[in-house]
């Protein structure tokens, strides 16, 4: 009898039993090319094991362990659920590239040299280098401790800006109220790679989408708004 490729594969994977299995075994005994195909299946399995089995002996990162051991808590304070039109991919990309995500906890943000945010009667307010960056830095400027992403006007006519902390900390969104920048939201997450970063970007972008009026400021209007003191 002839053994087609799928049947041989099922044999190699231990999926056959009884008569079916015996038939393939009989065919293998007679057919060297079939034996070679079987050997190729086995070699592929070995190579796949060699490539991926490392994960079984490596220590599991603490971030994963704590995700499995702790109940999930809300990471994001979202301002509104309203959704508006998304803006262009180019602008998104500029921001996505700039967002780095970290854990927004007292230790990470509050105690590093001068505090970057502090509570006030109207909520969390940007301080120190974060306040300076929000006030004066353009998205195109070289980032210091803070990178600036998008700037836009919200439904209350305020200027708002997205930011992230370059030391792998918090990403967030702040809006200018009076003379201060109120931090409207921050994202948190224990380090991580691109997916987490992208998820954080998306959370911030969703908030931006819910707040924005019109389009984000382009470079010229961003500089003009800054020069006019964000009034």
């Amino acid at each position: 009898m002839s053994v087609d490729d799928e049947r041989l594969m099922a044999f190699a994977d231990g999926e056959l039993s009884g008569t079916e299995r015996a038939e393939v075994e009989a065919a293998l005994a007679e057919d060297a090319s079939l034996r070679e195909k079987l050997a190729a299946h086995q070699r592929l399995r070995t190579r796949l094991s060699g490539a991926f089995d490392g994960a079984l002996s490596e220590p599991v990162p603490a971030s994963l362990l704590s995700a499995a051991e702790k109940p999930r808590t809300a990471e994001v304070v979202n301002l509104a659920d309203r959704r508006m039109a998304r803006w262009s991919v180019r602008e998104w990309g500029a921001m996505a590239a700039s967002v780095v995500l970290g854990l927004f906890v007292g230790v990470g943000v509050m105690s590093a040299q001068a505090p970057l945010m502090s509570p006030s009667p109207s909520g969390l307010v940007a301080r120190g280098a974060l306040a300076d960056a929000l006030e004066t830095q353009l998205a195109s400027d070289e980032a210091g401790a803070v990178r600036i992403g998008l700037s836009f006007r919200d439904t209350d006519g305020r200027y708002c800006r997205t930011f992230d902390l370059t030391d792998g900390g918090t990403a967030g969104l702040a809006c200018r109220e009076g003379d201060a920048w109120n931090v409207a939201m921050t994202t948190a997450g224990a380090g991580g790679g691109e997916v987490r970063q992208a998820a954080a970007s998306e959370q911030i972008l969703n908030a931006v989408n819910a707040m924005i009026v019109g389009e984000p400021l382009d470079a010229t209007s961003e500089a003009q708004a800054r020069d006019a003191g964000w009034e």
């Binding site: 099922a10 490596e58 790679g193 992208a198 998306e202």
Partner: protein, 167 residues
């Protein structure tokens, strides 16, 4: 939390190494893999009531990992973001770790897996990497068993071509 739920939670912890292995095969990226596992674990814990004790926890978790990856891949497509494996190593904070990641990701098998169509890659990852039976893999993917085997056959054939007979 009930003791059954506590038991499930500790079973999930015990599954983490396998979930990481599966996610690596599925994403072809070290950092992505752990991100996806983390998202999946968080989802699994939120949906623990959907898990039926006595059924296979691994298949259930694999399907959550796989769905997390599909969601991520979709949202990347939506955002017009190009899948750029080579750049990833550079973003990892620690140099030694980045080097290790880059080295692994550059491996022939990893790069061959990344080139497979998603549906073939997930079939190969479940059966050839994780050792699931066809029935279990088909259930985890929510497809008929015939669909699973044909994806698996095509995926394997493509891998063997790319890897030069897998010698």
């Amino acid at each position: 939390m009930t003791s059954a739920a506590e038991q499930t939670r500790s079973d999930i912890v015990a599954m983490l190494p396998r979930l990481r292995r599966f996610a690596r095969a599925l994403t072809g990226q070290m950092a992505d893999a752990d991100d996806i596992v983390q998202i999946a674990v968080e989802r699994a814990l939120m949906r623990m009531d959907q898990y039926q004790p006595g059924t296979r926890l691994d298949s259930w978790l694999f399907s959550i990992v796989r769905n997390a990856w599909i969601d991520e891949a979709r949202s990347r497509t939506r955002r017009g973001k190009v899948f750029a494996p080579a750049e990833l190593g550079e973003q990892v904070g620690n140099d030694g770790e980045a080097e290790m990641h880059a080295k692994l990701e550059a491996d022939d098998v990893w790069s061959a897996m990344r080139k497979l169509p998603e549906e073939q890659r997930e079939a190969v990852a479940l059966v050839c990497v994780e050792g699931l039976a066809y029935r279990e893999a088909a259930d985890a993917l929510g497809v008929p068993i015939g669909t699973l085997t044909s994806r698996l056959a095509r995926g394997r054939e493509a891998l063997q071509m790319m890897l030069g007979g897998a010698s």
